[in-house]
Symmetry: C2
Subunit: 157 residues, 2 copies
Amino acid sequence: MRSNVAKKQLESKTASSAASRPYRIEDQIGYLLRRAHQRASAIFQTGIGDPNITPTQYSSLAKLDEYTELSQNLLGRLVGMDKATMQGVVRRLKERGLVDSRPDPGDARRTLLSLTTEGQRLINRLLVNGPAVSRETLKPLNAQEQKQLLDLLSRII
Amino acid sequence: MRSNVAKKQLESKTASSAASRPYRIEDQIGYLLRRAHQRASAIFQTGIGDPNITPTQYSSLAKLDEYTELSQNLLGRLVGMDKATMQGVVRRLKERGLVDSRPDPGDARRTLLSLTTEGQRLINRLLVNGPAVSRETLKPLNAQEQKQLLDLLSRII
DNA sequence: GTGTCATCGTACGTACACGAACGATATGGG
DNA sequence: CCCATATCGTTCGTGTACGTACGATGACAC
């Protein structure tokens, strides 16, 4: 009841200014990002070619393919993951024999990660499907809009 | 080694067509959505006014404020959450005394959810901060770009 | 060399997110 | 009325995601 009064007051107040519309959850950037990320993950899972590989695992394997050898911490920074999160991702990849680790000879705090032969073989295969997954996710937009969306997203990160 | 050969072949192949650039993880829509969602969540957590309320809990409380009473399943559809995920969110909100439930008199499968007095008071307070959180998240973009991003995101959901 | 401070990896707790399986209930066709 | 089918909510398992705290190591000042 108190809220209804408050809401009505807010509505009449904002209705007068054309620029600000009423606050709706569905129009908020955080909500839209959550939903869009959900859909992208679902498309990834069905299209990447291995249902047991997650988006974060895929990013990690792809970065190791690119750099050959990386410390766990640096890998985390490159793929935008917290070190605590990275720890879990790496542990699972090691358990599956996709990633190997050895102590850094120059810095005893570091663990150097690299792909195993099997991990190399897997990421080579998955990378083929990557473009199709992105294409499917962006399908509702035309080429110019797709480019724009990627640009806008990278600017709010 | 095998991958390096493959990568070079891919590069030289795609370099010839101007439209398709080399495949980089950082430019993929899924990766950008994950990073953008991370940042939005972080801003939400520090700005919404209660560090113990998560974005999904906030959406749920806001929808209950809007509709007064909803079944758990319908609430899940309105905020874009799986029923299994919804179950955990609702359980935590009930444990904290923010949400109440009663059996649907007309359908014994359903549970009707509503805000408690405390839940109503909390969401009224948090909704005040909602616009500032969205504003901060979109800060790197100008007004037209902000509008465009919201439009593009809603179209790929 | 010693103390101070930062960095790296680990461990624990909390909270999404979803697939799969399950039991209870509802609904429509026969 | 009865059965097939669908829906609703729960439970289990796996995997992010992050805050916090911790111990080991490294870097640097003094």
